[in-house]
Symmetry: C2
Subunit: 315 residues, 2 copies
């Protein structure tokens, strides 16, 4: 199997899905040389619209994303999908999950799905997602969907990396209704209430609308629409894609896209800087570093003093 | 209002809840001097049992945590609660949320609730949670419950910081059943199926049991129990607290507690190291740093090359 990241990058740019998949896997595994492959594809990236789809477990995101991909295909766009953390002990994890989902699109080279199980990985979800989306973007997919089951920090991470963020809600999630949390209002460009045939869907939409009404006017003057879908039977999907297109046009005309592109770069820059600066501090004075770590583990040094001692040693 | 972190630390150790609350808020806000206050309380910490309670939105975690706190009080334990990210535009955010929940325990100095809205904060959720739990631990609360609505990385963060992690599920969450995801099996010390009166509760418990059966035997030989609760009417809570006590006894007899204590220290050490090493790299060569950042933002330098350039300048 080809393991040279530059060769994989060239083949991926030439349209070879397997090469793209291997490069993404090497990047995800933290392979040192893989960053060279990423550098080789970076100049070709920057054309795709990056679309985050986030929401709680059980909201039907996978089905929604599949339907959105089908609608994009109908409109002639090529679609990449990054499914974050779908691993399950029953499916044998991410790789088999890809195969199961790819089966529906097996005859269609215009759809490419990659799954990532990033729990606790070096550099975390944000960096791995940045790298995978960059590879798919460079390979010429017009839209790259980032699907995450995350609630909490994962949502913020995805929003930092996407141009348009779709937040999916469903009726019947109880008191701590995820849709109306303050953080969600800040990251959502579109709200989708899925399973709109269930009782309470209108109430969820009303709650979201009321929360939007109460917040300070957004700086970029974009008013997030609240759309109802029944993804299972492909209901409402056309409106979702139209809404995303409208947001994209707004981003282009308002200069918001440039801000999102810069935010994306800054996000990965700071993640990589933190990782590498810390690794270098630990490597610079290996013997003292080991002593400091040992004293920190035993509780002799508290973690804060240990960090100061380590950075003091290095300086 | 007192703002000297050392004075706040002394008052907090003396049992003053308001002083503890202010110290936690200063730490959360990234106040430089607040770390001195944390250092002042650290020697008094280390006696509390740290208990993570995690699960998806709508699982009824707040009610469950309140019932668990009541049961601990019945058993004579003092209880601290850290509620991560409960902010809502309707309640005015975390602070008012504290007041609403504290109302139930207003006459009881043995319960102390702090809420944190940590989205996107410097150093992230893990560090803020470490610091808040350390303050409550040092103040003499016997049990500190960390409640998070996180799904995904937030769960892993909480598990890194807790001695015992309780994962809450409910029936009817759809296909991507959160309870049986691979990552959950690795972090859960106890499973709770809440809203056990709803249809499908037995099926959720069976799925969890089957997933546990399929996984490799855990290294510490602890078999996570699967417990049914109806938190709304306080059903099953006694068994949950008994299960937590059993896990705690197991940790003490197996040496697992030492490993968890070390993992907690390492986690915050690495978080703080990453943050400070990165900040120092940016501060060391301010002019070149600003040039590199500007070239990175404009796309002239890719983020990886920009990091190398910055660390090269510093070296």
């Amino acid at each position: 199997m080809e393991r040279d990241p530059i060769v994989l990058a060239e083949r991926a740019l030439g349209g070879h899905q397997g090469a793209g998949a291997r490069l993404i896997r090497m990047l995800e595994e933290g392979d040192e040389g893989a960053t060279e492959g990423l550098r080789a594809v970076l100049p070709s990236a920057g054309r795709a619209h990056l679309l985050g789809v986030t929401g709680p477990p059980g909201a039907g995101k996978s089905t929604l994303v599949d339907r959105m991909a089908a609608e994009y295909r109908r409109r002639g766009s090529r679609v990449g999908i990054i499914a974050v953390d779908p691993s399950s002990p029953f499916t044998g994890g991410a790789v088999l999950g890809d195969r199961v989902r790819m089966h529906d699109h097996a005859a269609d080279p215009g759809v490419f799905i990659r799954s990532m199980a990033t729990r606790g990985q070096l550099g975390g979800l944000a960096r791995a997602t940045f790298e995978a989306t960059t590879v798919l973007d460079a390979m010429g997919y017009d839209v790259v969907l980032i699907e995450t089951v995350g609630v909490g920090q994962d949502e913020v991470d995805v929003a930092d990396l996407a141009h348009t963020t779709v937040v999916v809600s469903i009726p019947g999630m109880g008191d701590d209704v995820q849709a109306i949390k303050a953080g969600i209002l800040e990251i959502a460009d579109l709200f989708v209430v899925n399973k709109a045939d269930l009782p309470g869907a209108d109430r969820v939409a009303k709650h979201i609308g009321a929360a939007l009404h109460m917040r300070a006017a957004p700086i970029d003057a974009w008013q997030p629409p609240i759309l109802m879908t029944e993804a299972e039977r492909a209901g409402g999907i056309v409106d979702v894609i139209d809404g995303i297109d409208a947001h994209r046009a707004h981003l282009r005309s308002s200069g918001g896209l440039d801000r999102k592109v810069i935010r994306r770069r800054e996000r990965v820059f700071h993640d990589v800087l933190r990782e590498r600066a810390a690794a270098r501090a630990l490597a610079c004075a290996p013997r003292q570093g080991a002593e400091i770590l040992s004293a920190m583990r035993s509780g002799e040094l508290d973690p804060y003093t240990a960090v100061e001692a380590l950075l003091g040693v290095e300086a």
